[in-house]
């Protein structure tokens, strides 16, 4: 009879939960599980329900009645809200309990409140048995991802703010308090002061601090030394009167124009009353040169030599920084970088072509690996090759020799522009990688027929090819041939899958992350690559033509019945890891670190760590899928 009573009460809890999302959409069995496991507790107004100090949360809470406030604790605000009120039907903590780490928020009852709670184990079980609840939690974490991106953007916006534009007002440009003297100051004293402070000029003002004249370093030779000017005389006799002035509201552009017009290197900045605010020099304006996508492209396309392209290559890095600051996501960012690198590479090829005789040769320049996937980061070395055919009776062997000489030049020039030579010699100047279409097919065919470890490694690099320059039909033909050859070959795909599963996401059982010996996580090897490898296998299995990981995941996901939300979560995870890589590469540019794919988890903020963990979970999910599909 007491089971009847229990059913009544469980039913009452169920009815309550059904009033709220996501519980109203939850599967009956899962909701029953939740209602049965949920215990009700009271939290007096002002009492802590969960704080970061309590460690890994033991319970998941659903507010039944009252109001609970989530407050950010610690120095850094990691989400967009400083505090957030939770009412009936709302639950917490999702991120912390999923990631099994202390909450970043303190949850405090701001009214007398009742909360249902279930144990952390029951929470995880619920995630497992309820796709609806699972989705709800992943979407919540995805929204955290967004917040993290915004936060990242803020960080970069601050850096970008340092590089101001030509529209910056002069008032903002002035960094130092102006130094000035009165007109009756002895010249020696004024010049000594200039020398001590290492100033390029000295401003002379009247008693109201209005500029009346200026003496610059370039005046000294003709007017002082050569003219034998008596240094005891007042500086008023030496100065250039009526110096050029601009209001503080004028732009850097105005200043540049004024300097160019009058041929001066210094301008005095004054407030509306004509009082001296500071000095702007030509050098101050130089640092404002703004880099835009269009300018870089134009710069690349008009480049006549490698020196010009080297400058463009530096600009690409700078632009990437600006783009992050403007809030662009990893996917678009890598596409931009990829597009500009493509343009740069094409220009290098065009310049090299002018010096090499390639008449009678129809060819395509292959990009492999991350370049082939449009996923270049800022420290990718070259992976390229050539596919060709001869026309007008040119012998293949001769054509190959000409192409190799040309390719060597391109490889060298690419290296000069910041794409290091490939250590594994995966470069077009390698005779093994300068092949006709039939030769490529036969090479790929060998790997598929005999998938030894080296063949599988090769497949993981070369199968991500695309034609970057030249005849794109070669790429299309090779792709459709490859897809046809692999599609029916389950044994090969299974080997690829087994190979892809050799590296596991660095998620720890006890600690959050499994670290390398040096205490870092390799975001490439045990992060991005996990997604890339699975995406490649799915793409081959399903016949996706794109070489981009995200595109592969989206197309394959739709075909193998992964929900769009789940795919989005996987893509988010991948993009987040890519963004972290780009960010660390950016922050490393000051001191050219050798291996900038490594990140120390402690150096990440709480939110990023949580999201990184979730991203690795997505990788694990993806791997699990592969494991099931190929029964590994």
């Amino acid at each position: 009879m007491s089971t009847d009573a229990a059913n009544l009460l469980v039913g009452a809890s169920t009815d309550f939960l059904r009033n709220f999302s996501p519980f109203n959409r939850m599967e009956a069995e899962a909701l029953g599980f939740l209602a049965e496991r949920a215990v009700l507790a009271f939290h007096a107004r002002g009492s802590d329900i969960l704080t970061p100090e309590m460690g890994v949360p033991r319970y998941f809470y659903i507010v039944q009645r009252g109001k609970v406030q989530a407050r950010q604790t610690g120095a850094a605000v990691v989400t967009e809200y400083a505090s957030l009120s939770l009412g009936p039907g709302e639950c917490f903590p999702i991120g912390a309990i999923s990631a099994r780490r202390p909450s970043t928020n303190a949850y405090v009852a701001v009214e007398d409140s009742f909360c249902f709670q279930i144990s952390a184990d029951d929470f995880l079980h619920l995630m497992q048995i309820s796709p609806v609840f699972h989705l709800f939690c992943t979407q919540y974490i995805a929204s955290l991802l967004n917040q993290s991106r915004q936060q990242l953007q803020t960080t970069f916006a601050q850096r970008a703010a340092d590089q101001q534009t030509m529209t910056t007002t002069l008032g903002k440009l002035i960094k130092k308090e102006p130094v000035f003297v009165a007109a009756d100051t002895p010249t020696r004293a004024a010049l000594e002061r200039m020398n001590d402070l290492r100033l390029g000029c000295m401003v002379v003002v009247d008693e109201d601090r209005r500029p009346v004249g200026i003496v610059t370093q370039s005046d000294l030779l003709p007017r002082v030394i050569l003219a034998g000017f008596e240094l005891a005389r007042p500086i008023g006799e030496l100065m250039t009167a009526n110096p050029h002035q601009l209001p503080a509201t004028a732009s850097a552009y105005d200043a540049a124009l004024e300097m160019a017009t009058h041929g001066v290197r210094h301008l005095l900045v004054v407030d509306p009353d004509g009082i001296l605010k500071g000095v702007v020099s030509e050098r101050d304006l130089f640092s404002l040169q703004r880099i835009s996508l269009r300018q870089i492209r134009a710069g690349i396309e008009n480049a006549a030599n490698i020196e010009a392209l080297q400058r463009a290559s530096k600009d690409i890095r700078q632009l990437a920084l600006n783009l992050i600051a403007q809030g662009i996501g990893a996917e678009q960012l890598t596409q931009f970088i990829s597009a500009l690198n493509d343009a740069l590479t094409r220009r290098i090829i065009v310049l090299a072509r002018e010096q090499h005789d390639l008449i009678g040769i129809d060819f395509g320049w292959f990009a492999f690996g991350s370049e082939g996937r449009h996923e270049q980061t800022l420290s990718t070395d070259q992976d390229n090759g050539i596919v060709f055919r001869t026309v007008e009776g040119v012998p293949v062997g001769e054509a190959r020799q000409r192409l190799l000489a040309f390719a060597r030049k391109v490889n060298e020039d690419l290296a000069a522009c910041g794409f290091p030579l490939c250590r594994g010699n995966i470069m077009a100047s390698n005779p093994d990688l300068c092949l006709t279409l039939e030769e490529w097919k036969s090479r790929f065919g060998d790997w598929i027929r005999e998938p030894d470890p080296q063949a599988l490694l090769n497949a993981s690099i070369f199968f991500d090819f695309r034609v970057l320059y030249g005849n794109e039909r070669f790429g299309d033909q090779l792709r459709s041939w490859l897809n046809r050859s692999v599609k029916g070959n389950t044994a090969f795909l299974r080997m690829m899958a087994a190979n892809a599963l050799k590296v596991l996401p660095p998620l720890g059982r006890i600690r959050d992350f499994v670290l390398e010996d040096d205490g870092t996580i390799d975001l490439k090897k045990s992060g991005a690559r996990l997604f890339v490898d699975v995406a490649r296998i799915l793409a081959l299995r399903i016949g996706v033509n794109s070489s981009s990981t995200v595109q592969r995941l989206r197309e394959a996901g739709a075909k193998i019945g992964v929900s769009p939300e789940e795919t989005a979560a996987i893509v988010d995870g991948f993009n987040f890891i890519q963004l972290l890589r780009l960010r660390s590469q950016h922050l490393e540019t000051e001191h050219e670190a050798a291996d900038d794919n490594r990140v120390t988890p402690e150096s990440l903020n709480e939110l990023d760590r949580r999201i990184l963990k979730e991203a690795f979970r997505q990788a694990r999910k993806l791997q699990l899928r592969l494991k099931l599909d190929y029964q590994l």
């Binding site: 009879m1 229990a6 209602a35 009645r65």
Partner: protein, 213 residues
Amino acid sequence: MSWLSRLKTARGSAQPLSPQAERTLRAWHALPEAALDRPHFESRYVVVNTEATGLDLERDRLLAVGAVGVDGGLLHSPDAFYAPLEPAPAEALAGLLGLTGKNPLVVFNASFNRTLLERAFQTQLAFTPSFVWLDLYFLLPSLFPEKLARPARLGDWMAAFGIETFQRHHALGDAWAIAQLFLAVQARALSFAVGTPAALADHQHAFRRKLKV
């Protein structure tokens, strides 16, 4: 075994107790007395509530009993009991004792509920189990004077706390509401250093003396 022979004598020709109910009663008698000096979070209380034909103790009869356990400050749905007295009142009351054990009981309005229940125990089971009875009718106004300073009806307290239940005037429905009120009582009592069942009982007596009831 005196309670058993008394029970059998008392029941006379009435339907014999089921083996299960007999086992439950035997187990109840064998239980040690509840420790009353443990903090709330280590104590189990049981909220009991009744449904009767009316509110007149002289005339009205007990119809059903409901109970909800409050263990360690938590309300857990499966820890509940509900049974109508008919057709087997002794079975129902034995079942109730199975859930309560010898833990302190929490009621709203003991003068009615306790009297009704003890009378039923005596009639049906031929003994009156001894419990610590805690009465929210007094504990609530003494601990939450800012809400209602005088003893008030259950409905008023539910409104004061915004508490709802799935079915009013149902033994278990009201017990569910009373149990939620008791969660609040425990938290507030603790802030007054009234941290154990024994301390709650003392607090209740002191308040009643003050009210002179």
